[in-house]
């Protein structure tokens, strides 16, 4: 028998399904263990240790960092963060759904339009956010135009406001809403809408009774993909919101950098994670209940 080494290896794996699964998924599993789970454990440890005088931690055990979240100030940061993320998600949904719908029905233009949606990813988010500063600041493009045409007498303060943060967040996360909704609309059989139409359904009824329910998995995925990262975002509020309105992401960042309070930063991260987990679990519950109702 003429058996090459390649064939021998393949045969060895073929005979052992368990090892084959490990061979396929193993590298990624090891990677995640090393670079996600272990640092996460270290953070958890850090969050319950006393703060070191010059940064870092000292040996010991304490819940005081978590206790600080009872403070109104931190609670309000947490609340504002959730609010911003919620509003961002809602705006992305309202603007992204029609876009996804148009692309899904655009026939031969489909691929080109999808390309346009992902085009912003070709440059870094940081660069794009900086570019927005040039648009929004008092001497920026928008104010300059408005002044030029005499629509305003003096520049409107746009940069370093809560609105600027929302604009930045929506801009940054819109593609993450469009893509999953597009994917679920793309799979839909459009003759269903014709069937509904013959059965007497007007356009609004066709959307509410057929299109929307069938695209809900995409809507759910899009909302998760927008809501969760906006909860943890810090770059946008840092650059566009100024120091006036910090989000929990900025709090974490500050604690690890200028404030040199690693344990509190770690604790804030875990609080954020708990909020996300609870949110996802509630969502899952609602969806399970929905499926059972059907």
């Amino acid at each position: 028998m003429n058996r090459s080494p390649r064939r021998a290896v393949l045969a060895w794996f073929a005979a052992r399904p368990g090892w084959r699964a490990f061979g396929l998924a193993g590298p990624a599993v090891v990677w995640l263990l090393a670079f996600f789970l272990i640092p996460l454990g270290l953070m958890l440890g850090t969050s319950v240790m006393p703060r070191g005088v010059y940064g870092g931690v000292e040996w010991g055990f304490t819940f005081e960092h978590y206790g600080r979240f009872a403070d109104r100030m931190y609670l309000s940061i947490l609340w504002r963060t959730a609010q911003d993320a919620g509003i961002t998600t809602l705006i992305c949904l309202l603007m992204g759904y029609p876009v996804a719908y148009v692309i899904a029905r655009s026939g031969p233009w489909k691929n080109f339009l999808l390309f346009l949606v992902v085009l912003p990813f070709w440059t870094s988010f940081l660069v794009r956010t900086f570019a927005m500063i040039f648009l929004l600041r008092d001497t920026g493009l928008i104010n300059a135009m408005l002044l030029r045409f005499g629509l305003i007498a003096e520049p409107i303060q746009m940069l370093y406001t809560p609105w600027a943060v929302l604009v930045g967040l929506v801009y940054g996360f819109l593609p993450f809403m469009v893509l999953p909704i597009y994917a679920s609309l793309e799979k839909m059989d459009w003759t269903l809408l014709e069937a509904a139409e013959v059965l007497g359904a007007r356009p609004a009824a066709r959307f509410l009774r057929i299109t929307l329910p069938l695209s809900l998995p995409g809507v759910a995925a899009g909302c998760c993909l927008v809501f969760i990262p906006s909860l943890g975002s810090f770059l946008t509020s840092d650059l566009l919101g100024g120091a006036k309105q910090i989000l929990i992401g900025n709090l974490v960042q500050n604690q690890f950098t200028s404030a040199r309070n690693w344990p509190f930063g770690s604790a804030a991260s875990f609080v954020l994670m708990a909020v996300v987990l609870v949110g996802v679990m509630v969502w899952q519950r609602i969806r399970d209940a929905d499926e059972r109702a059907i």
Binding site: E194, A196, G200
Partner: protein
């Protein structure tokens, strides 16, 4: 007013392509009307014009439903029902909710809905208790077909459109459904317009058939008229099988004409439109109307063509004998199989035979 549907010189053009070209027909109340043709002949566009998914060209004639012009009316304003080729059941709704959909859209009172849904499911022989709560994905193809039918019939429409609804199910079930559809059509008195490319399906179920070819109606008539008296070579070829002969009418002969065909043989044709002295004639003869004889044994009064047996094809119910006649033309003769083991055919490949047929069984064709 007993025409449910009227097409008056209707045309529909997509970009530069004329999908439906100046067609006119009526569908009578309670009729099972089929539109039959190969793919791309315009039959689906015709159905979509009827449903309201397409509108005729601006100067493209008139589509009338129950006596009213409906050219611009949307499908949801037309009070019709339709069964789609892919069934188009709503995958996120149970069987009951699928069937109830049209009733809800037409604001039927909520207390009547369950009763009518159950009645519609029973009509298509699905037990509402067993199937009502199932999702479309949990049904077989045949069951989905029935749900689609129930969803349409529950509205008690004046007109039911069916777009090749039996294409995707297996042969045995298809035969059953053909029978059931015909039953429903009779029992409910609903007018059916049925689009298909399957000639056998159309012949089995229809009261009348419109055969379409190249965006026009090639012939419209009862199944017997279409099969026994096809008007053009296309119809003769598309519905059943046919043998084609060409020749020239030379002189009147008793009640008909004497024809000399392109192989130099002489035979008779009954008088009729399109046959005149010196005119070229194109004639179709169905395989089952031809018979085989030993040379010289053809009965008096039948046309005779000499030939050589090229092949004998065993089909079970029938046998096809392919005979080569001058000039280089193969004709098929269908013979009833009387048992090849007990009484084998007396013909074998290479035998000289005479083909015989009654002059009245020849169908004179117009050009396509």
């Amino acid at each position: 007013m007993d025409d449910v549907v009227e097409f008056v010189r209707v045309s529909k053009t997509f970009a530069a392509y004329r999908a439906v070209d100046n067609i006119s027909f009526e569908v009578r109340r309670g009729e099972f009307f089929s539109i039959l043709g190969p793919s791309g002949c315009g039959k689906t566009t015709t159905l979509r014009l009827l449903a309201g998914f397409e509108q005729p060209d601006a100067d493209g004639g008139e589509v009338r439903l129950l006596g009213e012009r409906v050219n611009e009316r949307r499908p949801y304003e037309r009070q019709i029902a339709m069964v789609f080729q892919s069934y188009a059941l709503f995958p996120h709704l149970s069987v009951e909710r699928n069937v109830a959909f049209g009733l809800e859209m037409r604001a039927v009172s909520a207390s009547d809905v369950p009763k009518r849904v159950a009645a519609a499911l029973e009509l298509v022989r699905l037990d509402p208790g067993v199937f009502g709560r199932r999702m479309p994905a949990q049904l077989s193809g045949g069951q989905r077909q029935r749900v689609a039918l129930a969803r349409a019939l529950v509205l008690e429409p004046a007109l039911l459109l069916l777009d090749e609804p039996l294409g995707a199910i297996d042969l045995k079930l298809r035969k059953e459904m053909q029978f059931e559809l015909k039953q429903l059509n009779r029992q409910l008195g609903t007018t059916f317009v049925y689009v298909t490319h399957d000639q056998e399906e159309a012949l089995t179920m229809s009261d009348r058939i419109a055969v379409m070819s190249n965006s026009r109606i090639a012939q419209l008539g009862s199944p017997a008229e279409i099969y026994e008296n096809p008007r053009t070579p296309f119809v003769a070829r598309f519905i059943g099988e046919s043998n084609f002969l060409e020749g020239t009418a030379v002189e009147p002969d008793g009640e008909g004409w004497l024809v000399v065909d392109d192989g130099g043989h002489r035979w008779h044709l009954p008088a009729g439109p399109g046959v005149a002295g010196g005119r070229r004639v194109s004639v179709a003869v169905r395989p089952e109307w031809l018979d085989l004889f030993r040379p010289g044994e053809t009965p008096a009064g039948e046309n005779v063509l000499p030939g050589i047996v090229r092949d004998v094809v065993y089909l079970g119910e029938t046998l096809h004998v392919v005979v080569r006649v001058a000039p280089e033309r193969d004709l098929t003769v269908a013979l009833r199989n009387e048992g090849q083991l007990a009484r084998p055919l007396p013909w074998a490949r290479g035998d000289a035979v005479h083909l015989g047929w009654l002059p009245g069984d020849s169908q004179v064709l117009e050009a396509d």
